[in-house]
């Protein structure tokens, strides 16, 4: 039986952790060692914006030890990531370089969406998860620097929001006033409430959630002592809030004693109690579930999935589409037109497979672009392409990387605007990305053109490649003179990109 030993390293805002796994067909993913070391990178990062030399030293020493541990287990592969803490830091590149030279570990900085996707994957392997998201759930991941809330409805992720409020960040913000107030819970609460309120108003509206799935530090300790759990391991939110209310008034030392923590003066305890309390109160779900997984579990799931060692029941692609639709809905740009465009684009994509050389992922991106191609109209009618671009770029979609969002946003922009030469956009994407953008934009243009009137006149669309022509066969009971007439303009840009001429062939239906 083939066993792969894999190590996952994560550099967080106050902790660096290493988890070693064995991945095998029989036992799936089994954790064999878990080592954590306390390094307060967040203190420098959130406070000063750069990570100082001393902390880098400490970090490198620990990573070196991790290297020794990995070598000790003779790991077959490893992945090392850094989170939020490195994203906001000015000297990130230098630090990564230092790490690589001194410890021979390659660390990649995760964008927020990638981070969330990994967290998400660590949950997706748990059987309980699928059941819970069917009934409506919010996955809340609380980190040192920030917090991520992802809403699930009927089994798919519909929106995910990143709130720059993490336990450590709260503490850093309030250290200045900590001396002025003996119990600064009220201050913490005010900070949190402001952010949660906005989220609730805009994103939570109308969503019914039954479960809150919480990941983060200290929540494990808080939930551990809970004796009265439901059969599926969840805790009734009301009971949880009651307990947290009791703790709300306690001092740090008393809390540490109750929770059996190693550090009696852990300054992060109080902010976390307040944060979890407010979250539980505001999100209004009936049950809380603490699965006890962390980012390292996500890293190994991601690796195992990519290398086809495990099989995910969950369809992450469906999430992306559901999120895109939800986004389009929010900007009132979702209609039957978008669906029609999406449908057409997919037909054309499939027909052109041999020519464009793009894969499954790009097919998905095309669909997202099609769904979102009109969202900018919400902001401005005349400037809609630019606005669409900005909106897409600014919105996180779980399951899409930052780069992919850039591609989709650009494809939507160049749907209306003429395609810019590579030199002008080389800052935001590489050549490969630019090629994908141009191809997607070209397909999108003609798909869009086919429903110029937004009346979904075409039925039963078929496309096939014949020589150097793409023949699109349509059936339409109505007049398609408009579409046919304006088609050549878009056809030209298509031909420029693919050297294939698209042609509409009408099949009369009576």
């Amino acid at each position: 039986m083939k066993i792969t030993t894999f190590a996952a390293i994560y550099i967080g805002s106050y902790e660096v952790s290493l988890k070693v796994f064995e991945i095998s067909a029989k036992q799936k993913i089994r954790s064999i060692d878990y080592v954590r070391s306390h390094v307060e990178l967040g203190k420098d990062a959130f406070g000063k914006g750069v990570i100082g030399y001393e902390l880098v030293e400490e970090l490198c020493l620990i990573l070196k030890e991790f290297r020794t541990i990995m070598d000790g287990y003779k790991v077959d592969a490893y992945e090392a990531f850094a989170g939020n803490v490195f994203r906001n830091v000015g000297n990130a590149l230098f630090i990564l370089d230092q790490i690589r030279l001194r410890t021979k570990i390659e660390v990649t900085v995760l964008s927020n969406s990638e981070h969330r996707l990994m967290d998400y994957k660590s949950l997706a392997v748990l059987p309980k998860f699928e059941k819970m998201i069917q009934k409506g759930a919010a996955v809340v991941n609380v980190g040192g620097g920030s917090m991520q809330i992802t809403l699930f409805r009927k089994g798919t992720a519909i929106t995910t929001q990143h709130i720059e409020l993490g336990i450590m960040r709260i503490r850093e913000k309030l250290t200045k006033i900590a001396n002025m107030v003996s119990h600064y819970e009220t201050q913490i609460q005010e900070l949190i409430d402001k952010e949660l309120d906005i989220f609730k108003r805009i994103y939570l509206k109308g969503s019914e959630i039954k479960y809150i799935i919480v990941m983060g530090d200290y929540i494990g300790d808080m939930a551990k002592g809970f004796s009265k759990k439901e059969e599926d391991g969840t805790i009734e939110t009301e009971r949880f809030i009651k307990l947290l209310n009791k703790w709300y008034k306690k001092s740090t030392e008393e809390l540490s004693l109750e929770l059996n923590l190693a550090n009696e003066h852990d300054p992060l305890i109080l902010p976390s109690v307040v944060l979890y309390k407010r979250l539980s109160e505001e999100l209004n779900a009936k049950y809380i579930w603490v699965p006890g997984v962390n980012i390292c579990d996500g890293i190994v799931c991601d690796y195992a999935g990519k290398n086809r060692m495990i099989y995910f029941e969950h369809d992450f692609e469906e999430d992306v589409l559901a999120a895109a639709r939800n986004l389009a809905e929010r900007y009132q740009g979702y209609s039957s037109h978008s669906e029609a465009v999406r449908n057409m684009a997919v037909v054309i994509f499939d027909a052109m497979k041999k020519v464009h050389g793009m894969g499954k992922r790009e097919r998905l991106l095309l669909q997202v672009a099609a769904i979102l191609h009109d969202c900018g109209r919400y902001v401005s009618l005349i400037n809609q392409s630019e606005c669409s671009y900005q909106i897409i770029l600014a919105t996180e979609i779980i399951g899409m990387t930052h780069v992919e969002r850039e591609i989709v946003a650009s494809a939507v922009k160049y749907n209306s605007q003429p395609l810019q030469p590579y030199s002008s956009v080389s800052g935001s994407m590489d050549q490969e990305g630019y090629m994908v953008v141009s191809k997607l934009a070209a397909i999108l243009k003609i798909a869009n053109a086919m429903d110029r009137s937004h009346r979904q006149k075409f039925k039963n669309i078929k496309a096939s490649l014949q020589g150097r022509e793409l023949v699109i066969t349509v059936e339409s009971p109505e007049s398609i003179v408009l579409e046919k007439g304006l088609f050549p303009d878009y056809a030209n840009s298509f031909e420029e990109v693919f050297s294939v001429k698209p042609r509409i062939r009408e099949k009369k239906v009576f």
Partner: protein, 710 residues
């Protein structure tokens, strides 16, 4: 709560030091036991002496420190440091008196009957013996002596801790004023204290003490002087190491510095011969800055630890117990793959009845096995040339990840530990030199092996140190297992000891200093709840000392609720039995035998779902709060039965066991009409009988022709 306060009343507790002195008494009782071979009895006297020495250097010294510092807080029995010192003084004097009366009135005459003479006064030597002694002095002793005089230009020299010295009053030859001068010479520790000399009678042995040899020839050291008188004396200094750890940048260096300092602490005891000259005593008292109550006048040879050497003299085997050969562990066949044996099931080891070899072999096999990835071990009080150290060094050289936690703060062993710790480092092991503020007392070894279906961890957990020589003298229990839950915990322990964060939760192990105390209290409380619910409830435990107030209070509460508590406690016991309404259900047995009892077992009835634990910790504050300890559950049914049998036998011991009485004294059990049970002897027998008899498999069926009738 009122109820809780009740159990903490000082009158419910015994002072720790006084309890220890009672333990030393029990050891001395072995020396007074006529049924024990003569030389073994001598050994016990020697042990009481060295025990007493250590007691003074550490416990009495720290009490004196407290008095100096003006520390007025009372201990759990309600005594201040000063009160304790007074009581200790009294008890110690009676102990010492009994020591010497046993030696002089019982043992020396017995030795005489067996043809062994120990000459304690050089005046008793025959002429031939005298000549021999003098020649010995000239050739061997004289070159090593350093006599030191004290006068205006030569201040009183620094006398070494625990050393035996001879003090003399001198008179300059021809000095009409007859002024007396003081001089002192150390009895060299490099030479043997007992010197064998030709016996005056055939077939007998004669020994003389080294100080007598010197005293006889002392005039040769001070040629221009007339020696007025010369008497031996011995001092004890404060040897408690208090290392200021937070400033100690390099723990290793700090210990090395302190080791040198150890020779020069304050003098806390002076032993002199009872016939000592008053003037001499006066000078010693003044120059050593010692109080009258700390002076002990001894009727006999000072420092009886030389009796340990007497135990080891050539021949005379009938005066000793035959040496016990530790038996093989039935489930482990020497030479076979030990990992395979462990995979078949958990294995229990009971030393010294069973050999310690499997543990040594475990590490050795791991060091040469290509599938082994890592070996981790905690080492505390390991012997210098230990085969374990050699295997660990070898493992590192073979490319394995070797992590060793060396405990440098093992009192009196520090020097030893540093040497081989450095040796391991050189070989490539990752050596962790102890933890700041904590002594690592846990005994755990972990081997990580990459096998066909993944990584498997083999763990050895024990109650005794990884020292193959003490493993033949101390009783200890150990367990081999490859259970995943324990393996995970073991990895977490070593991660924690390496400085990483503690694991989110523990599967099976209870670790001190954070979790162990709570665990014990929880287990005792749970038993109490069973008793309150009317169910059968008992706790049976064995340990070396019991002096933690919270645990004792919990036991009192449990006993009051109806839990039957039976304890086997070797040494210190601060709990009082038979207090009405408090400790009527508690019994305390103390076993002092040939082997030093050292194992720790904890057995909780838990309404039928019994839980049995073993561990490295006693019920003392230092174990629960200031040391890294591990307690582990025994879950394999067969092993549980074995442990139940061991503890049961010890509780039934009526030969070597003393029972604690409500008045605080220990008494031997009334054996009349009962079957004699000597637990240690029984275990020896059982270990021997546990091995399958070797059957001659080559015996064919053969018709044997009869011999012709002649």
């Amino acid at each position: 709560m009122d109820k809780e306060k009740d159990y903490l009343k000082p009158e419910y507790y015994e002072n720790r030091e006084l309890s220890w002195l009672k333990f030393n008494h029990r050891v001395l009782n072995e020396a007074r036991d006529k049924n024990i071979p003569l030389l073994e009895r001598l050994k016990f006297v020697s042990i009481t002496s060295s025990n007493l020495d250590e007691f003074f250097m550490v416990r009495v010294a720290s009490l004196k420190d407290m008095v100096h510092a003006g520390y007025k807080k009372k201990d759990i029995a309600g005594m201040t440091a000063k009160e304790q010192l007074e009581a200790i003084n009294k008890d110690t004097r009676s102990l010492v008196e009994m020591q010497y009366s046993t030696y002089t009135r019982s043992l020396v005459p017995l030795l005489h009957n067996h043809g062994i003479e120990i000459i304690s006064a050089y005046e008793e030597l025959s002429e031939a013996q005298g000549e021999y002694v003098d020649r010995y002095f000239e050739e061997t002793v004289y070159p090593v002596l350093t006599p030191m005089a004290v006068d205006a230009s030569r201040p009183f020299p620094l006398i070494r801790n625990k050393s035996l010295n001879i003090a003399a009053l001198l008179n300059k030859k021809g000095d009409k004023k007859e002024e007396l001068e003081f001089a002192t010479v150390q009895v060299p520790s490099v030479l043997s204290r007992i010197v064998q000399i030709p016996s005056s009678e055939e077939g007998q042995k004669a020994f003389i003490l080294l100080e007598q040899v010197i005293e006889r020839n002392i005039h040769r050291l001070f040629l221009n002087y007339h020696v007025v008188c010369a008497y031996p004396y011995r001092i004890m200094r404060n040897a408690d190491l208090t290392i200021d750890e937070d400033e100690a940048e390099d723990l290793l260096q700090e210990i090395q510095k302190q080791l040198k300092k150890r020779q020069w602490g304050e003098v806390i005891r002076l032993e002199v011969e009872d016939k000592v000259d008053k003037r001499l005593l006066g000078i010693l008292k003044e120059d050593l800055h010692i109080a009258q109550e700390d002076i002990f006048k001894i009727n006999g040879p000072l420092d009886l630890t030389f009796l340990m050497k007497m135990y080891g003299i050539e021949g005379e085997d009938e005066l000793r117990y035959p040496p016990y050969q530790p038996q093989r562990v039935p489930k482990i066949v020497p030479g076979e793959d030990i990992f395979e044996a462990i995979r078949k099931g958990d294995i229990l080891l009971h030393h010294p009845y069973q050999t310690f070899d499997p543990v040594v072999d475990f590490i050795r096999q791991a060091s040469v096995d290509p599938d082994v990835l890592a070996i981790k071990q905690t080492l505390y009080r390991v012997s210098g040339n230990s085969p374990i150290i050699a295997s660990l060094a070898q493992a590192a050289e073979n490319g394995k990840q070797v992590s060793v936690l060396v405990e440098l703060k093992a009192r009196f062993d520090e020097e030893n530990n540093i040497v081989w710790a450095k040796k391991l480092e050189k070989a490539g092991c990752h050596v962790i030199y102890g933890l700041v503020g904590l002594k690592t007392h846990s005994k755990i070894a972990l081997v990580v092996r990459k096998e066909e279906d993944g990584i498997r961890r083999y763990v050895h957990l024990g109650t005794g140190n990884y020292n193959d020589s003490t493993a033949k003298l101390y009783t200890d229990l150990g367990m081999f297992t490859c259970s995943e839950a324990i393996g995970e915990d073991a990895t977490a322990v070593f991660n924690m000891l390496s400085g990483y964060s503690e694991p989110p939760s523990w599967n099976k192990l209870a670790v001190a200093p954070i979790w162990l105390r709570k665990r014990f209290l929880k287990l005792i409380k749970r038993e109490m709840k069973h008793a309150q619910a009317g169910k059968e409830a008992f706790i049976r435990a064995k340990m070396n000392s019991l002096c933690d107030r919270d645990v004792i209070a919990a036991l009192y509460e449990a006993s009051a609720a109806g839990v039957q508590v039976d304890l086997v406690i070797r040494g210190i016991c601060c709990l009082r039995v038979g207090i009405p309404g408090v400790s009527e259900n508690i019994t305390v047995h103390s076993i002092v035998g040939n082997f030093l009892e050292h194992s720790r077992i904890f057995w909780f009835h838990n309404d039928g779902q019994e839980e049995i634990y073993m561990g490295s910790a006693d019920w003392m504050p230092r174990n629960l709060d200031r040391r890294v300890e591990i307690m582990f559950p025994v879950e394999n049914e067969t092993l549980m039965d074995q442990v139940r049998h061991i503890l049961g036998t010890q509780l039934a011991d009526n030969t070597k066991a003393h029972i604690l009485k409500p008045d605080g004294n220990y008494e031997k059990i009334d054996k009349r009409g009962k079957r004699l049970v000597n637990s240690q002897q029984q275990f020896c027998e059982e270990a021997r009988n546990a091995l399958p008899k070797t059957v001659n498999v080559y015996q064919d069926r053969v018709f044997i022709p009869a011999e012709p009738v002649e």
